[in-house]
């Protein structure tokens, strides 16, 4: 005969197993150019890979150059084959330090943000 505690544990286990797939906060997992990196060839786009699928309509990415100028050449788009990957086309970048500021909303509405720098060397 099961005790009350065993029943409670069974119910809790059943609730967790019956839960819909977790859709957590979207944190930055990898970026290209990499966070804090120095590269020699100017990239044509920024690629941000998050830990969760994101909602592009409510997500923003700003890239500013050495003089504070904006260097995005278009709006962020989610990769059609990878809903956790955001791509932003860039203008032609000259040598200097660039700052990427992102703010994304995961598909379950959690908001996360962050920023990082990369450097284009001559």
């Amino acid at each position: 005969m099961r005790s009350t505690w065993q029943r409670v544990l069974l119910i809790l286990l059943a609730i967790f197993l019956a839960a819909p797939p977790a859709s957590a906060h979207a944190f930055l997992e990898r970026a290209s150019p990499a966070v804090g990196s120095t590269i020699h060839a100017a990239p044509a786009e920024i690629t941000l890979r998050f830990t969760e699928p994101i909602e592009p309509a409510f997500s923003t990415v700003q890239v500013t150059g050495p003089g504070g100028e904006r260097v995005e050449a278009g709006v962020p788009r989610v990769d059609a084959s990878a809903p956790a990957v955001l791509r932003v086309p860039l203008k032609a970048l000259g040598p200097g330090s660039y700052k990427v500021v992102w703010r994304v909303v995961s598909v379950d509405s959690h908001v996360t943000d962050g920023d990082f720098k990369f450097t284009v060397a001559p």
């Binding site: 119910i11 977790a22 957590a24 906060h25 379950d108 959690h110 996360t112 990082f116």
Partner: protein
């Protein structure tokens, strides 16, 4: 199946009214992982299940020495976006070296907390709360006090992400802490000694209780400062040192300060985290040996975003 039990659980799920907010301890780019031995600076929809703790109390030569095993569970629930409650309860086993073992529940603890400050640029969180220990809800045999206590507490968390860029390698550091004053419900109490059968009268001093953690977030480092190319599992680790102490401030008659220093790490997954820390006794008078604490902690706002993971009222 026990019908009242099922009904109670169903009612609890149904009570989770619609809303959406950020239940983690987040301030700007900073995510404060849930600490194992001290309380967090944020309110949340989360559950620690279980927290397992092991520590030897007393020296081998001590007749009262014992190995203590604690299994605890905690449920944190937001009432509104910034006001939450927590319930903490556990079971204790004291495996006595020279005597028969003792078993029983520890006292029930409840917390009401208001997170009144969340500053993103400075990665700062602050809350105030009241912890109520319900005396007599646990077993006297394992040291659960017959009388309760009330502890007004201030909680804070501060990330170092606003340091100048010249100190960028220090930006992943964060500091959290709690400061509280524990009022005893009754200043003295009488209890029955389980071994001798004698009534003993003891003083219950008010206590100054504080805790702190210093943590270095590898996820923060990888996402905001420098991608070191670490494997994903390694990039989710936060090395941490926690400490907590309680000092008697009134009627201290022989009651010593207690505390631990707990170095370890927390691994953060998408919807849960795992923590493992050593428990190094602080004051040497206690003769406690080094133990450990292990915790599995679930982010209910991520697992049940439309039901249990939302505050009961508001967005």
């Amino acid at each position: 199946m026990n019908r009242p039990l099922v009904a109670a659980l169903a009612a609890a799920i149904a009570l989770a009214a619609p809303a959406a907010a950020d239940a983690h301890g987040v301030a700007g780019k900073r995510v404060f992982p849930t600490t194992l031995t001290i309380d967090d600076p944020a309110v949340s929809d989360e559950a620690s299940l279980p927290t397992f703790q092991y520590q030897k109390h007393g020296a081998n030569s001590d007749d009262n020495a014992f190995y203590q095993y604690d299994i605890n569970g905690e449920y944190d629930k937001r009432i509104t976006e910034h006001v939450g409650v927590a319930i903490n309860y556990g079971y204790t086993i004291q495996d006595r070296i020279n005597q028969s073992s003792r078993y029983g529940f520890s006292n029930l603890n409840t917390t009401l907390k208001w997170q009144f400050l969340q500053n993103a640029p400075h990665e700062l969180l602050m809350s105030v709360g009241v912890i109520k220990a319900w005396g007599g809800s646990g077993a006297n045999a394992v040291g659960a006090a017959a009388k309760g206590s009330t502890t007004p507490t201030v909680y804070f968390g501060k990330g170092f992400g606003d340091l100048p860029d010249a100190l960028q390698w220090l930006k992943p550091f964060a500091f959290t802490g709690t400061l509280g004053y524990q009022f005893q419900d009754v200043p003295t109490s009488t209890s029955l000694d389980a071994d001798s059968g004698m009534l003993t009268r003891s003083s219950n001093p008010d206590l100054f209780v504080w805790g702190a953690s210093l943590q270095y977030s590898i996820p923060y480092l990888q996402a905001n400062i420098k991608d070191l190319g670490l494997p994903e599992w390694l990039g989710r680790i936060t090395p941490i040192v926690e400490t907590n102490y309680a000092f008697p401030v009134t009627r201290s008659n022989g009651v010593n300060a207690t505390g631990t220093i707990a170095p370890g790490f927390i691994w953060s997954g998408d919807s849960f985290q795992i923590g493992l820390e050593a428990l190094v006794p602080g004051p040497k008078k206690t003769n406690n040996a080094t133990g450990f604490v292990f915790q599995v902690h679930f982010f209910l706002d991520d697992i049940f975003p439309t039901t249990l993971g939302k505050p009961i009222f508001g967005n």
